[in-house]
C-alpha cells in the first residue's frame, strides 16, 4: 500500500512542478533555437542525420564564434518522433521561451503549426517541405519554405527526364510512374504531375505506399514490372526509401531511370541497396562530402570534442549536410534580424523579418565557409517565401553519391499559378485567415 501511495504522490508532485516550471519565463540573455527532431520512431533513419547536422552546425557557431553577433545560441532539441501530437506539444512547450524559429521537419507537423505561427508570432522554416502554397508570402507571412517547393522539385525532375529523352517534346507517349508515401506529403505533387502530363502528353501511373506497408512494397513493384513505366519518380521518406531502392533493383528496374525527390536521397536510403542500387538518382540542393571549411570546423570544434551524437562514418553524409544547410539559413536569418533591429537578442518576430530578407549569394556561401556547397539563395522576397531555387541531380555510384548535373531550374511558369491557386484556396477555406499586416523590409 505504501509504495502505491508514494508513487501516486510523486506523480502528483511532478505534475504540479511541471506547471510551476513551465510557467517560468525564460531568461533572455541568449538566442533560443529549438530544434524539432526525431531520433525515434519509424522515420528515425531520415531524422537522425538531419538532427545531427542541425545540432552540430549551431553548436559549432557557439564554440567557434561564441554564437551569433556575440550572443550565445541556446540550442534545444524537442523529440517529436514524427508524431503530430508530440509536435504540437513541442510547440506549446517552446512557445513561452521566445523561440526564434521552428523547424518542424515533418510535413504533418508543419500543417498543424502553420495556423499557429501568426498567432504566436513564431516563424516556421519548413525547408523544402510542408505546404507548397506557403511560398506565397502575402498569405503566409510567417511560413518559409526555401529553397524550393515540392512542385518545383517535381518540375525539375520532369525537366531532367526531358533532357535525357532529348527534349520535353519527346516525353509524348512516355509513361512516368510515381511511387509515393500515401500521405499528404506524397500526394501533394500529384496535381502538378497530372497537369504536366497533359501539357507534355506523357502518361502517369500512381503507386501509393501506405505508411504501414512501407517496408514491404512488393505489390507496388510488381505493378511497376507490369506497367513498365519509362521513368520512376519517388516521393518517399523514412524506411520507405531504402526498401523502394531494394525492390527496384530486385525487380530489375533500370536504376538510372529511377529518381527520388531530395527527401529520398540520403546515404542510408541507397546504402541498403548496395552495389545493386548503382545508378539511382535523387535531387539534392546541399553539398556532398566534408570538403568545405565550415564542415571541417564542425569536425574540429564539435565532433572531435565529443559534443556530437553523430557516428564517425556518417559525418557529413547527405542528410547531415541537409541539416547543416537548414541551420545556415537559420543563422543567416538571425544575423539579418540583428542587423535589422539592432538588437542582440532576437526573438521570433525579428527573425521573421530576417528570413524574409534572406539573401545568400555565391560569394556569401564562400564567406560562410561553404564555397560551392549550394546554389545561391537569392529569390526570397516578401511575396515569395520559397525562392524557387534550382537543385542538382545526384547519382549513387555504389558507395557514395556523386553530383551528375548542374543546377536545374524549376518550371516557375507552371508552378507559380498552381501556388497562387492553392494559397487562395487555403485562405478561402480557413475562414477568418488573418490578412498580412507585417511590413516588408528591404533585402540587405
Amino acid at each position: 500500500m505504501k509504495v502505491r501511495q508514494v508513487i501516486m504522490g510523486v506523480a502528483c508532485a511532478g505534475l504540479v512542478a511541471t506547471a510551476i516550471y513551465a510557467s517560468k519565463a525564460q531568461a533572455a540573455d541568449d538566442i533560443y533555437v529549438p530544434l524539432f527532431t526525431y531520433r525515434t520512431g519509424p522515420y528515425a533513419n531520415s531524422g537522425i542525420p538531419i538532427a545531427n547536422g542541425m545540432h552540430d552546425y549551431l553548436t559549432m557557431l557557439n564554440e567557434r564564434d561564441g554564437g551569433i553577433g556575440g550572443v550565445k545560441l541556446n540550442v534545444e532539441e524537442c523529440e517529436t518522433g514524427y508524431d503530430t501530437k508530440k509536435g504540437v506539444e513541442c510547440w506549446e512547450s517552446v512557445k513561452s521561451k521566445n523561440p526564434t524559429v521552428v523547424n518542424p521537419f515533418s510535413t504533418g507537423i508543419t500543417l498543424q503549426l502553420i495556423p499557429k505561427a501568426s498567432v504566436d508570432k513564431i516563424p516556421i522554416l519548413s525547408m523544402a517541405y510542408g505546404l507548397s502554397a506557403a511560398a506565397v508570402g502575402k498569405d503566409f507571412p510567417w511560413v518559409f519554405n526555401p529553397p524550393a517547393t515540392y512542385w518545383d522539385g517535381l518540375s525539375m525532375i520532369i525537366k531532367y527526364i526531358g533532357e535525357k529523352e532529348g527534349g520535353l517534346a519527346k516525353l509524348k507517349g512516355k509513361t512516368i510512374g510515381y511511387i509515393f508515401l500515401d500521405a499528404g506529403y506524397g500526394r501533394e505533387p500529384i496535381p502538378l504531375l497530372e497537369q504536366l502530363a497533359k501539357d507534355y502528353g506523357f502518361n502517369v501511373k500512381l503507386y501509393p505506399v501506405a505508411g504501414k506497408e512501407m517496408q514491404d512494397q512488393s505489390s507496388q513493384w510488381l505493378s511497376v514490372r507490369r506497367d513498365r513505366p519509362n521513368w520512376m519518380v519517388m516521393w518517399g521518406w523514412g524506411a520507405m526509401n531504402p526498401t523502394a531502392v531494394k525492390r527496384a533493383s530486385e525487380n530489375g528496374y533500370p536504376m538510372d531511370h529511377f529518381i527520388g525527390v531530395w527527401w529520398s536521397g540520403s546515404d542510408d536510403d541507397a546504402r541498403g541497396g548496395g552495389k545493386a542500387a548503382k545508378g539511382y538518382l535523387a535531387l539534392n540542393f546541399s553539398g556532398l562530402g566534408s570538403n568545405y571549411p565550415a564542415i571541417q570546423d564542425i569536425k574540429k570544434y564539435v565532433v572531435d570534442k565529443g559534443k556530437s551524437q553523430v557516428e564517425k562514418d556518417k559525418f557529413a553524409d547527405t542528410f547531415y549536410n541537409r541539416g547543416v544547410y537548414n541551420t545556415v539559413l537559420v543563422a543567416e536569418a538571425i544575423r539579418n534580424a540583428q542587423k535589422l533591429t539592432g538588437k542582440k537578442v532576437v526573438v521570433g518576430e525579428d527573425v521573421r523579418r530576417g528570413l524574409e530578407t534572406l539573401h545568400i549569394t555565391e560569394a556569401r556561401w564562400k564567406e560562410l565557409g561553404f564555397p560551392g556547397f549550394a546554389g545561391p539563395l537569392t529569390g526570397i522576397s516578401c511575396a515569395d517565401h520559397s525562392g524557387h531555387q534550382g537543385a542538382y541531380m545526384q547519382q549513387w555510384d555504389g558507395d557514395k553519391w556523386v553530383k551528375v548535373s548542374n543546377l536545374i531550374e524549376p518550371m516557375k511558369d507552371k508552378v507559380e499559378p498552381l501556388l497562387q491557386d492553392a494559397a487562395k484556396e487555403y485562405v478561402d477555406k480557413a475562414t477568418g485567415w488573418p490578412k498580412r499586416t507585417e511590413a516588408c523590409d528591404k533585402a540587405m
Binding site: 505534475l15 511541471t18 513551465a22 531520433r39 532539441e77 500543417l111 499557429k116 502554397a133 484556396e425
Partner: protein, 357 residues
C-alpha cells in the same frame, strides 16, 4: 476521520440510488469542478494547451472505449478510426453549413461515428475477445485508408489534411488559430463534464446493467431476456459516439488541423492503455488512466531539466518508453483492476478508519 457516512440516513430509494450517495463525495466533486472551471485564472498556456485540453479529450475517448470494453466486455482496437470518423464528419458538416454553431456540429459528428461504429460492431454477435479485437482492426485500417483516399472528406485539399476554419459561438472565437486557449479549454471541459455525467447516468440505470450483464455472463444475460445483438450494437454505437466527439474535439479544439496519420493504430493503443491502467468499467478510471499515460511522459521530459542532468531529447524519449512499459507491467501486477480500484480501496480504508478492516 472526515470521511464518514455515519449520520447520513437515506429516507428514500431515490436518494439511495443516487450516483454519489455520500455527502463528502458530493462535496469533493463540487470542489474539483470549481477548480477545473477556474483553472484558466491561474494556469498558463502550456498547462491549458498541452496538458489539460489533451488530457480531457483523451479522458473522453477513454470513457468511450471503456463503455464498450470495460462495461460491455467487447475489446476494440478501432478507437482511433472512430475518432477520425467524428473529426471528418465535423469538418464536412461545418464546411457545408458554416453558419451552424460549431458545438452543435461537434456533438452531431458523434452520430456519424456511432453509425460507423455500429456497422463494425456487427461481427460482435458471432465473435468475442481477441477475435473481435482483430475484427475491429479491420475497421481501423479500412477507415484510415478511406481518410487518405476519399478526397471529398478533406474537401480536396492538396495537402490531404484538414485545417480547422475559424468559428465563433456567441461572438467568441471557439475554433481556429485565433481561439484563445482559455476559451477552448472551457468548451472542452464543459462538453467532457456533460458527457461524463451522461455516461454515468447511463451506467447506473437499466442500460448500464444490461451492458455489464452481457460483459459478465452473456449467456445468462440472454436467457434473462437481454437481446445480445441490439445490446452490443448499442454499446458500439454509444461508445463510438463518445470517441467521435472526442475526435472532433481533438481536431477542432486541440490540434487545429489533422492529417489521417493522427487517427492511426497507435491512437487506438494509447486509449486502450489508458482504460486498462485506469481501470476497466470505471469512469473515474478513464480519467486516471488518461492522466497517467498522457501526462506522465510530459512530466518525465522535464525531470532531467530540473535535476540539471544534461541528457539528449532522444534519450529522454527512450527512457520514457521504458518507464511507461515498466509502469504498465507494474500496475498490472500491483492492481490488475486499475487505478480506480486503488482509489476505491483507499476510500474504503478512510471509511473504516482507524480500523484496518
Amino acid at each position: 476521520m472526515f470521511y464518514r457516512e455515519a449520520g447520513q440516513f437515506k429516507t428514500s430509494y431515490a436518494s439511495d440510488q443516487a450516483i454519489f450517495p455520500i455527502l463528502q463525495d458530493r462535496i469533493g466533486i463540487a470542489v474539483i469542478l470549481v477548480a477545473a472551471f477556474s483553472l484558466p485564472l491561474y494556469a498558463n498556456d502550456f498547462i491549458l494547451n498541452a496538458v489539460m485540453i489533451p488530457f480531457l479529450i483523451f479522458a473522453l475517448a477513454s470513457i468511450g472505449l471503456n463503455l464498450l470494453t470495460g462495461y460491455t466486455g467487447q475489446l476494440s482496437l478501432g478507437t482511433g478510426a472512430f475518432m477520425g470518423v467524428g473529426a471528418y464528419a465535423c469538418y464536412k458538416l461545418t464546411s457545408i453549413w458554416p453558419d451552424v454553431n460549431i458545438i452543435v456540429w461537434v456533438i452531431c459528428s458523434g452520430f456519424f461515428a456511432a453509425g460507423v461504429g455500429a456497422i463494425f460492431g456487427l461481427p460482435s454477435l458471432r465473435i468475442k475477445g481477441f477475435y473481435l479485437a482483430i475484427a475491429t482492426l479491420a475497421a481501423q485500417f479500412f477507415l484510415e485508408w478511406c481518410f487518405i483516399r476519399i478526397a471529398w472528406l478533406y474537401n480536396y485539399n492538396i495537402s490531404g489534411a484538414i485545417e480547422v476554419p475559424q468559428r465563433t459561438v456567441l461572438g467568441v472565437i471557439v475554433t481556429g488559430p485565433r481561439a484563445t486557449s482559455e476559451t477552448r479549454y472551457i468548451v472542452v471541459l464543459a462538453i467532457v463534464v456533460a458527457m461524463t455525467w451522461i455516461a454515468s447516468n447511463l451506467m447506473h440505470g437499466r442500460i448500464g446493467r444490461t451492458w455489464m450483464a452481457v460483459r459478465d455472463m452473456d449467456i445468462a444475460a440472454e436467457l434473462m431476456g437481454i437481446r445480445l445483438l441490439p445490446t452490443k450494437l448499442m454499446a458500439f454505437a454509444v461508445s463510438s459516439f463518445y470517441c467521435g466527439v472526442a475526435g472532433a474535439l481533438m481536431v477542432f479544439l486541440w490540434y487545429g488541423g489533422a492529417e489521417p496519420a493522427v487517427f492511426n493504430i497507435n491512437q487506438s493503443f494509447t486509449i486502450l492503455f489508458m482504460i486498462i491502467i485506469g481501470g476497466l468499467g470505471s469512469l473515474l478510471g478513464a480519467y486516471l488512466g488518461a492522466a497517467l499515460i498522457y501526462i506522465l511522459p510530459i512530466v518525465l521530459r522535464f525531470v532531467p531539466e530540473w535535476l540539471g542532468i544534461p541528457i539528449h531529447a532522444a534519450t529522454v524519449e527512450h527512457i520514457t518508453f521504458m518507464i511507461v512499459g515498466v509502469l504498465i507491467v507494474f500496475f498490472l501486477i500491483v492492481e490488475p483492476a486499475g487505478l480506480a480500484r486503488l482509489w476505491s480501496i483507499g476510500k474504503q480504508k478512510l471509511r473504516v478508519w482507524p480500523f484496518p478492516y
